[in-house]
């Protein structure tokens, strides 16, 4: 470390919002809709995916409301099927998959590696349009009658036995897949070719490593989902028979193709979130992430292992017992890199100077809930217990612990962490800490009872259930209400802070990442001069010494 690298630590009290930044550079709606600036595209993603999140959330609210009573009374069973299908499709393809890469990755990945933009700005804009076309098609399918196959489009249900908007929804997902591929491809090229001088692979922030791993999955997995959807559409329109047993086809083959994407897809969703957590934990414990290299490679390991575990979704579908054995074993292997991450974050906290700003609270939430989600995944990876649990609420709880407790917490941590950089203003700290706590409590009330319901044998995907399960379901619905408040609060106070928030300054967290060394909000070209990197990521020990020396010098004078 030499003195050429000085981390930018301006005084927050005198900070002003710079007149020239990416928001003020150009005005008018077209300057946003036709922009090729990665930061503006990130904001477009953020706005649109918040919209889809609230649609998906409203559908979740309807599901919980229906399950308040044992009878199917709020809606008919068919309607219920459509509601949970749309909840799944909207949340997975239009919120979870693009959430962190689309909003935070687009905005910060180029800044973190010291680039002016992603390598392919036009393709980046195209990815947002693909996302919007897919999203609008999905809403169209929902309004014009919906689809009731579940988000997994299981054959032969989707090809032969339902008469709902399967093809429209399939097309929507196919188009949204292009959005995902474009983003992933852009990230990979950018990380390979656009790093600033001195930014070596092992100086990359772990957020970048995590997005790199997720991008590999997007690029390799999504096309296979594409062909699976095309074959379902051909089956429905022409009856080509590849998934039709009466013509010699095999419905199980669809499962193989579908889960070859859709299992890695859960890592597409969670890996960027893990990247956020690495940034947040390190910044608020003022320490370098413990075992940087191990955490970086664990992301890649998750991506690689992620491609060889898909058949664990099919243990009860009649695959051979040898396949069950192998895939069960491989599934256990994924637990290793995930545990590496959790342990390394815990060791980062050890002897750190921990502070409890909102992003850190969300990160703690993530660590606890993701660990529970991950460990219950082992129950489902073991074929013996999986047969009992897989069609019950246990799997619903497991998935939501990983995705809502994990990914959504990480997303909120990231939004709060980088909000000052994106907007130039601080969010209000006290109320947002309250929101983080409310979210955590609401989440546990909603989903923990579902583990118990699952082990008691309550099946998933039904609008009605035996009366003995009602107490736990009421608890779950009550929790969902609290959770809803936890999600509404950030919307309100973040919008409030756009106008009334305290001015953040360039580096409110005194963090070492490159994105903090430029003004907030950043210039359109990110950096006034091309940065040169000559230090490791997260070098907080050095920063501490440096500031101590500066203070001493000031005192002497």
């Amino acid at each position: 470390m030499n003195d050429a690298t000085i981390v930018n630590l301006p005084d927050q009290a005198t900070a002003k919002i710079p007149r020239d930044n990416y928001i003020t550079r150009e005005n008018g709606i077209l300057s946003w809709l036709l922009t090729q600036d990665h930061k503006r595209i990130g904001i477009l993603y953020l706005i649109s995916m918040t919209f889809f999140f609230f649609i998906g959330g409203a559908l979740a609210g309807l599901i919980r409301l229906e399950l308040l009573t044992p009878q199917s009374d709020l809606m008919a069973a068919d309607t219920y099927n459509k509601v949970f299908t749309m909840h799944g499709v909207v949340m997975i393809f239009f919120f979870l998959v693009p959430s962190v890469p689309g909003a935070l990755g687009n905005f910060f990945l180029p800044m973190m590696i010291g680039a002016k933009d992603l390598a392919l700005p036009k393709m980046n804009l195209a990815s947002w349009y693909m996302y919007m076309i897919g999203g609008i098609l999905t809403l169209w399918a929902m309004i014009t009658g919906g689809v009731d196959t579940g988000w997994t489009f299981t054959t032969p249900l989707s090809t032969h036995y339902v008469n709902t908007n399967v093809i429209t929804t399939g097309l929507a997902i196919f188009v949204a897949g292009f959005s995902s591929i474009f983003t992933g491809l852009n990230f990979i090229v950018t990380i390979h070719k656009m790093r600033a001088p001195g930014m070596t692979w092992f100086r990359l922030p772990l957020f970048v490593w995590a997005n790199y791993a997720a991008s590999i999955l997007m690029v390799l997995g999504t096309p296979v989902l594409g062909i699976a959807i095309v074959l379902v559409a051909l089956e429905r329109t022409f009856g080509i028979g590849v998934f039709d047993p009466t013509k010699g086809g095999d419905p199980l083959l669809f499962q193989h193709l579908f889960w070859f994407y859709s299992h890695p897809a859960v890592y597409i969703m969670i890996l960027p979130g893990m990247g956020v957590i690495s940034e947040v934990i390190s910044t608020f414990s003022r320490k370098r992430v413990f075992g940087y290299t191990a955490v970086a490679f664990s992301s890649v390991a998750i991506a690689v292992f992620g491609f060889f575990v898909w058949a664990h979704h099919m243990f009860i579908m009649g695959i051979s017992s040898y396949a069950v054995l192998v895939f069960s074993l491989l599934t256990m292997l994924v637990a290793v890199p995930s545990a590496i991450k959790i342990f390394n974050w815990a060791f980062t906290l050890y002897k750190g100077s921990i502070t409890f700003e909102t992003p850190m609270l969300y990160a703690f939430g993530f660590m606890g809930l993701f660990t529970i989600g991950g460990m219950t995944g082992v129950f489902l990876g073991v074929a013996g217990t999986d047969i009992h649990l897989t069609e019950t609420y246990f799997i619903v709880a497991h998935f939501h612990f990983v995705m809502v407790g994990g990914m959504l917490m990480a997303f909120l941590a990231g939004i709060h962490f980088w909000w000052p950089k994106m907007t130039g203003r601080m969010y209000p700290e006290k109320i947002s800490q309250l929101a983080a706590v409310i979210t955590f409590i609401g989440f546990n009330f909603t989903f923990f009872p579902q583990f118990i319901l699952g082990t008691l044998g309550m099946p998933r995907r039904y609008a009605s259930y035996p009366a003995e399960f009602q107490v736990l379901n009421v608890l779950s619905t009550a929790g969902a209400t609290i959770l809803g408040v936890g999600y509404l609060l950030p919307i309100l106070y973040l919008l409030w802070s756009l106008r009334y928030g305290k001015i953040a300054g360039d580096n409110p967290w005194q963090a070492t990442g490159l994105e903090w060394q430029t003004q907030s909000p950043p210039l359109t070209e990110n950096f006034a001069v091309m940065p040169i990197v000559d230090h490791e990521a997260y070098d907080y020990e050095w920063l501490e010494q440096k500031t101590a020396q500066q203070k001493e010098a000031a005192n002497v004078r």
Partner: protein, 246 residues
């Protein structure tokens, strides 16, 4: 941001190369990045067709007898001619890139037109083949006919190949072969059509000298795509036409 925090190595301004996009530091970086991106895109195409090829290989192994008999209905001559047409079109495409590098505008336009016409010829021949399949009711669906497989004597191609009559249960599986035949060649055709649309666009652009001014990346990367579509056919031809023909 203080100046000392980042040694300014980058000089922006007057000596900007004419084709350099603003966010790249040098022409070399731009070329590296876009070239890499194109290869990654082709990788996604490999995965897309890879899924389809997997489906094909599984059913071919399960229903080998039916697939052999069904493939005898395809014309090796027409398929072979089409393979030559596509390989030639790849050659003219490569030549177009070569000429663009040497700034020969007329040659680039002519070669692109030749590539396009080769594509038209391919589609024409493919159309003839499709028409035969429709005429014989080999398009999967309610009108599908197994006559040629249960009673090969009634069918010219089957007789020529010396097919023996297949039992009903085996003959039924030939429909799966034709399903896959139409799905695979159909998706290949879709890629051809997209490519030909881009070729037309490039012919007009090339006439105004777009690729002969020293910057022809677009042409070069389109070439990658066109060769890829060619290679898909190179795999499709033996898989569909040449099962068990020695």
């Amino acid at each position: 941001m203080s100046d000392s925090s980042t040694a300014a190595a980058h000089q922006h301004g007057s000596e900007h190369a004419p084709f350099l996009r603003h966010h790249f530091e040098s022409m070399e970086q731009q070329k590296d990045a876009t070239n890499f991106a194109m290869w990654l895109f082709l990788l996604t195409e490999v995965m897309f067709f890879g899924g389809l090829f997997t489906v094909y290989m599984i059913y071919r192994n399960w229903y080998y007898e039916a697939f052999v008999a069904a493939s005898h209905q395809l014309s090796v001559t027409l398929g072979g001619v089409n393979s030559c047409v596509l390989i030639t079109s790849s050659f003219t495409m490569a030549l177009a890139v070569w000429c663009a590098e040497r700034k020969k505008k007329a040659a680039v336009v002519a070669l692109l037109v030749a590539t396009f016409l080769m594509g038209v010829l391919f589609l024409g021949i493919k159309g003839v083949e499709y028409r035969e399949k429709f005429a014989k009711h080999h398009f999967p669906g309610t009108t599908y006919s197994m006559e040629a497989f249960t009673n090969p004597a009634s069918d010219a191609e089957a007789t020529e190949a010396g097919d023996k009559p297949l039992p009903q249960a085996v003959a039924e599986r030939t429909e799966l072969f034709f399903s896959l035949y139409f799905a695979m060649t159909g998706l290949h055709l879709l890629h051809m059509l997209i490519g030909m649309g881009l070729l037309l666009y490039m012919v007009f652009r090339a006439q105004s000298g777009a690729y002969t001014g020293g910057h022809f990346s677009y042409l070069e990367y389109f070439g990658f795509y066109w060769h890829f579509v060619d290679i898909v056919w190179i795999f499709l031809f033996p898989l569909l036409y040449l099962i068990n023909r020695h």
